[in-house]
Amino acid sequence: MQPINYQLAGYSDLFMLIAALVYAAAFILFALDLATSSKTIRALETDLARERDIDTTDTTESPVLREHLVGAGGGSSAREAGTGSTTVPGARPNRTGADTGAGGSELVDEDMDYLGTTARPVANVAVALMVIAAALHAFAVIARAVAASRVPWGNMYEFCTTGAMLVSVVYLLFLTRKDIRFLGTFVAGLVVIMMAAATIGFPTPIAHLQPALQSPWIIIHVSIAVLASALFTLTFAMSILQLLQHRREAKARAGTTGGLVFMRLVPSALSLENWSYRINAVGFVMWTFTLIAGAIWAEASWGRYWGWDTKEVWTFVIWVVYAGYLHARATRGWTGDRAAWLSIIGYSCIVFNFTIVNTYFPGLHSYAGLPS
């Protein structure tokens, strides 16, 4: 067995802390961006209101203006437009009509494409900080792996720091294609929480793996599990926004304004729902894989592929909840808010599985003892 490089491990710990601090800074800036953008939006809104007063046509019926006003959250997404009661899964929300020449600019795009209409310098700095933090973070994770000559997911500390890294990397990757800066506060916030949980909650000095974990399956099983969890983290944030946005849309339809102003930087609830569905579908496939790989590993290690060990129970529960989520999307009356709740519940189960089950529930993971 390769000896452990303690010096490198020390750097890893240090960089982990620095990365956490930079993430925290990014979080603050993202939050600041939302706050300042709220101001800009209000100003824009006043302008538009004035414009509307001047307009002689039937402005209240002009979808252009209305959508324009409330950003993507306007009362005319596909869901609300119909007379029936159902949502249509997969129906593409209509884009807002920026090019119809009504003046002004739209705030968000339903496909979360970059529009370049609103300058958000603070958010851009926040993104830059995220990139720096992710680089530091990646160094820390890789250094830990190199120092121990093994994959860096042998205990909760490593699982959590690697998971946080994947959350931010996946987020940044998405960011190159899609304008999901609106998620930044949530993603950076969650990453900071994960880093704090890892470094304060369960700091674990570097060490070799115990014999039970010395298997190629750890690479296959755990890496996909962490990746799936990272995707579910993103959809968790999106589902919460979806619920908030949905409420705001309902208010906007009822004619009252209000709610959180920054939600105007967020695409419509339907758009959020469709996107979290797409990501959840990928996450679900990965989780299914995790489940199967875990069963194969259990078979190789303990001789039985499934024994309803606490960890297995919760992996199963999570799988079933997300299967329920996928079903909900094809069931009348279960799309929208309810699906979002299922996605949130599924993620809560993941968090529970990771924190409480790992620490408080007795499981099959001690290897010096007698058989039963």
Partner: protein, 598 residues
């Protein structure tokens, strides 16, 4: 009608042609009595196989699985359950009544998943039959109003362009190349249209996925019937194990187990090596490697062979596998009785309590005369006595092995034939001889030492220490089926989630000015977020195939949106970039002719 309405209506039509979705509106309650027996049954069946029921059952299954992680489960460890029952007599009894210590074989858990699977069959079987028919039939007819589809576009051809029928033929050929199944039909009002559909395999994936889940469950049931699992502890250099029922320390057969399925083999532990971390400061003494050298004999005859057994690397004998799941120390002791005769000699398996291998020892000596003798206490691999005078183990390896025992004499209670746990000494009818708190003190022995028991009851000597391994011996013929179906389910899941099933219709007609007008519409079946991209791809192709007239300027109102490639307006920037440069290349007609299907 607004654009959004287009989307909605189109989707609703889709839903109507899609009875397999099973989410019919609830029938009013009042109708129930009028349904009659068969009617009621059919109603119940419809309800059971509805998506909503499936969803409810799924969520219920998730909730029902949770208690199994909150309460100790009998299959995992009956002793822990008994302990729990002892500690919580009232609550425990109630929990037991509701089978909360056997959640996964409980009536209610079984009821949920059996209902779920009945619902699944009721849901998927008709879908499979229907889809089998769909697979053999032509793509659907062209709807009258393509503009009501979620993605829609019109291409106005130059007078020099092909006739409606020729254009449709070309479109059909292109769609076929794109993987669509196509059917060209004559339109009642003149002209022609093509109906095209692709992604049939999506539905196949969905059906195979659900059926595979049944396969997984079926083979789990097979395993439950035919499998067995047993445990055996082997001490280094001691008597081995032969695969017969009497050899096991513990044995759990499946429901339909027969002794014939015990394949013949035997094995013993030649030596056992442990490696602990000696470099890390924080994890000093953490186990790094366990290696058991086994002497095995596969089958009845043949020479014994040496084989290595490690964690994660089981030994296989036919379908039976042997796993290294635990290890510990077995101190060797000799006990002489009050008459001076050897009443017990040999290794005693210690139950490991912690990571430094502090081991609980129970020695029962029923053969001792005149009184039976019993010992309980600890074996400490590296004993260290702190300032409080209590000895503890501080290392998992044998640096200072020591026995710390209390002794008893009297009746061990073994003669009544009641089964007893070998690891528990029933002290009810025993009198204490040695204890730290008695004047006699406890028995403390290092290797090679002996101790004379008080009152001339005998003596005990500590002769040495041997390692032992705990083995699980398992046979489950169902696991291959479970594995195959699980992997099949995964593959089918990917197909069903990521293959896009969509329909395209293209209609060619003669426009008011005599030139050809091509109208087309797209419809997704199931989730499809890239329908717009498909629309744009088609449009690009059409403009390449045919000489196209520039579209009219989009007007200010929604009435004009139908003529933009997508049913909404933002993307007209994209559209004009990609599609808005009509009649650019003169070689289009030529290429169109080349592309013409024969």
């Amino acid at each position: 009608m607004s654009q959004q309405d287009n989307v909605r209506v189109a989707r609703d039509e889709d839903a109507r042609t899609e009875p397999s979705r099973h989410d019919q509106p609830q029938q009013p309650e009042v109708q129930l009595p009028a349904l009659g027996v068969t009617g009621t049954l059919r109603f119940a069946w419809t309800q059971l196989t509805s998506m909503r029921t499936a969803l409810m059952l799924l969520l219920l299954l998730a909730v029902a699985a949770v208690p199994g992680s909150l309460f100790p489960q009998r299959p995992a460890g009956p002793e822990i359950v008994n302990q729990y029952l002892e500690d919580n007599p009232v609550l425990g009894e109630w929990l037991d009544r509701f089978q909360l210590f056997d959640v996964y074989s409980s009536v209610w858990f079984s009821a949920i998943y059996i209902l779920l699977f009945v619902s699944l069959i009721g849901c998927v079987a008709p879908r499979a039959v229907k889809h089998a028919k769909v697979l053999r039939s032509a793509p659907p007819r062209t709807p009258r109003r393509l503009s009501r589809l979620p993605e829609y576009g019109t291409v106005l051809l130059d007078p020099s362009g092909p006739s409606p029928a020729a254009a449709v033929d070309q479109a059909a050929a292109y769609l076929r190349r794109r993987g669509y199944r196509v059917e060209v039909r004559q339109e009642p009002g003149g002209g022609a249209s093509v109906g095209a559909e692709r992604g049939y395999v999506r539905e196949v994936g969905n059906i195979v996925f659900h059926l595979s889940l049944i396969g997984v469950l079926a083979f789990m049931a097979v395993g439950g019937l035919l499998s067995y699992s047993g445990q055996k502890i082997l001490v280094e250099g001691e008597e081995g194990f032969a695969n017969t029922l009497v050899s096991y320390d513990a044995f759990t057969p499946g429901g339909a187990f027969s002794e014939d399925s015990l394949v013949p083999f035997s094995m013993s532990l030649k030596s056992f090596e442990k490696v602990f971390d000696r470099e890390s400061e924080t994890h000093y003494g953490q186990p790094l490697d366990f290696t058991a050298v086994m002497e095995v004999q596969d089958g009845t005859g043949g020479e014994p062979q040496e084989r290595i057994l490690k964690v994660n690397h089981p030994l296989a004998f036919g379908g039976t596998r042997v796993y290294l799941v635990g290890n510990g120390y077995a101190p060797e002791v000799t006990v002489r009785d009050g008459n001076g005769d050897i009443a017990f000699q040999g290794p005693v398996v210690g139950q490991v309590q912690d990571e430094v291998y502090t081991s609980l020892l129970t020695i029962k000596v029923p053969d001792a005369q005149p009184d039976q003798l019993g010992f309980v206490g600890f074996f400490l691999p590296t004993s260290y006595t702190g300032e409080d005078g209590v000895a503890v183990s501080i290392d998992p390896e044998l640096f200072n092995p020591e026995l710390n025992l209390n002794s008893y004499h009297g009746d061990l209670g073994l003669d009544e034939g009641k089964p007893q746990n070998v690891y528990v000494l029933d002290t009810e009818n025993l009198t204490e001889l040695n204890n730290r708190d008695l004047d006699t003190g406890g028995v403390t022995l290092s290797v090679g030492e002996s101790y004379e028991l008080p009152e001339g009851k005998g003596s005990i000597s500590f002769d040495g220490v041997k390692p032992y391994v705990g083995l699980d011996i398992l046979y489950d013929p169902g696991k291959w089926g479970v594995g195959v179906f699980a992997v099949l389910a995964l593959i089918a899941l990917v197909v069903s989630l990521f293959v896009r099933r969509r329909r395209v219709w293209v209609r060619g007609a003669t426009g008011p000015d005599g030139s050809t007008v091509v109208e087309y519409g797209l419809l997704a079946r199931g989730e499809d977020f890239r329908l717009r991209e498909e629309n744009l791809a088609l449009r690009r192709k059409f403009e390449q195939l045919w000489p196209v007239t520039a579209p009219q300027e989009p007007g200010p109102s929604s009435s004009s949106t139908a003529s933009t490639p997508t049913a909404s307006s933002t993307s007209s920037t994209t559209a004009s970039a990609t599609a808005g440069s009509p009649s650019t290349t003169p070689d289009h007609p030529a290429r169109a002719v080349q592309n013409r299907p024969e």
